[in-house]
């Protein structure tokens, strides 16, 4: 079980973004994805929860299986019950007038029970307990990102895909977010982290996917991928200090 991506290619009307990508994500993995800007990382993330090919227009080929569900044959809503997605900019994901409403949004869409317990638990995990009645707009950027993670956690998906969740945060808040992800992974969640900071990837991930120009150029354990310093330099990716 887990996620299997087989020969996936995707192109927008004028641009080919993903080129014959294949890899597997097993349950409980903590996988990092790194690559230069515009290489197709976000597009790949959209493939994992069915937004591609169901909602985003373009030419899709190949197969993405989430457990036994083919993303092309199921709705985004069905896939989203298994794969949660956290985006880069929390300002464009959070829209409710209270923290509680924001977290309840996904829970209610999926018709899940124990709403109150889920809200409290997810806020506790990200360290925002007691924030239920606060206005999301008045939270700091780090707290907003934690809230967007909490809102995905409340849906209790097996896999969490995060698209550069710390790109707008300072080191302290970024570290805090990564610690939360590590804790979740230890509790059994599968984490797929798109991140440009290779130091964080080296510290937290079990394996790394290295992406360039729509292709996976390396898929191996963190140590092995980051040992390829020449390849990293060639692709314009920072060689991590911690290896």
């Amino acid at each position: 079980m887990g996620i299997t991506i087989k020969n996936v290619s995707f192109s927008y009307p004028n641009k080919s973004v993903l080129k014959n990508i294949s890899f597997c994500i097993d349950d409980g993995d903590f996988i990092g994805l790194v690559g230069s800007t515009g290489c197709g990382k976000t597009t790949l993330a959209y493939c994992l929860n069915g937004l591609i090919p169901n909602s985003i227009r373009g030419k899709f080929s190949g197969q993405v299986m989430v457990d036994d569900l083919d993303t092309a044959k199921n709705t985004v809503s069905d896939i989203a019950k298994k794969v949660g997605l956290v985006f880069q900019d929390p300002d464009w994901q959070i829209f409710s007038v209270s923290v509680r409403d924001e977290i309840e949004f996904g829970i209610r869409n999926f018709g899940l029970n124990k709403v109150e317990k889920r809200v409290k638990n997810s806020l506790k995990i990200v360290g925002l307990d007691g924030y239920e009645n606060r206005e999301p707009q008045k939270l700091s950027q780090g707290q907003k990102q934690k809230l967007s993670i909490a809102s995905v956690l409340a849906m209790d998906t097996k896999v969490i895909v995060l698209d550069e969740p710390t790109s707008q945060l300072d080191y302290k808040n970024a570290k805090m977010i990564h610690d939360i992800l590590e804790k979740l992974n230890n509790e059994g969640k599968t984490i797929f982290l798109i991140e440009h900071d290779t130091d964080f990837l080296a510290e937290y991930c079990d394996s790394i996917l290295l992406m360039n120009d729509g292709k996976i150029v390396k898929n191996d354990s963190t140590n092995k991928v980051f040992a390829e310093t020449n390849l990293l330099k060639k692709l314009g990716i920072k060689v991590p200090v911690i290896r």
Binding site: Y46, N49, L51, S55, I56, T75, V76, S77, A80, K81, G84, L85, F87, D89, D91, W92, Q93, I94, F95, S96, V97, S98, F105, G106, N109, F110, E135, Q137, S151, V152, M155
Partner: protein, 189 residues
Amino acid sequence: MNTKIKILLLVVFSTCILFIRNPFIISLVLLCVSFSIFLLKVHSKLFEWIKPIIIVSIFIILLQTFTYSPIKFTIEGLTFGITISLRLITLLILVFAFVSTTSTKQLLEGFDFLPKELSMMLMIALRLLPLVKDETTRIVNAQKARGLNFKTLNIFKSYFPVLVPLFGKMLEGSNRLAIAMESRGFEKK
């Protein structure tokens, strides 16, 4: 006070004001509303709100005074101009009183009788307003930093470099918001 009652009162008062023709009665309502705003201690931004309307009102009074009967000063025109201006100011102060005493959350709760899709649209629109404001400030500052002088250009030329990236950003942002909502189970109908 319950927001639904507030909305109802706002609609009833506003409608009444549109039908009252006697400027003395409108003045009396205006005085009462202004007094209650001072009692509620929410008057700090009132002048900021009514400043542009006062300028518009002066223009209306002058226009009505001299055009009620073609190019001639008339008392009727003056009275009519004052009545319209008083109506405008009273309506504005009523809306100000409503907005200053109602939080966004209360406002949305007040509209919960609307269909789910409509209240969701209203909530998102209200939520995005501060983002649009912040984004506009950011773009204006960025263009100023690149030497754009808003005072020396005409209104179209000066706002073009602001509006184009702003619309681009808003379209991109709303697309991202839709994707985020969909990935949390919100289905398109």
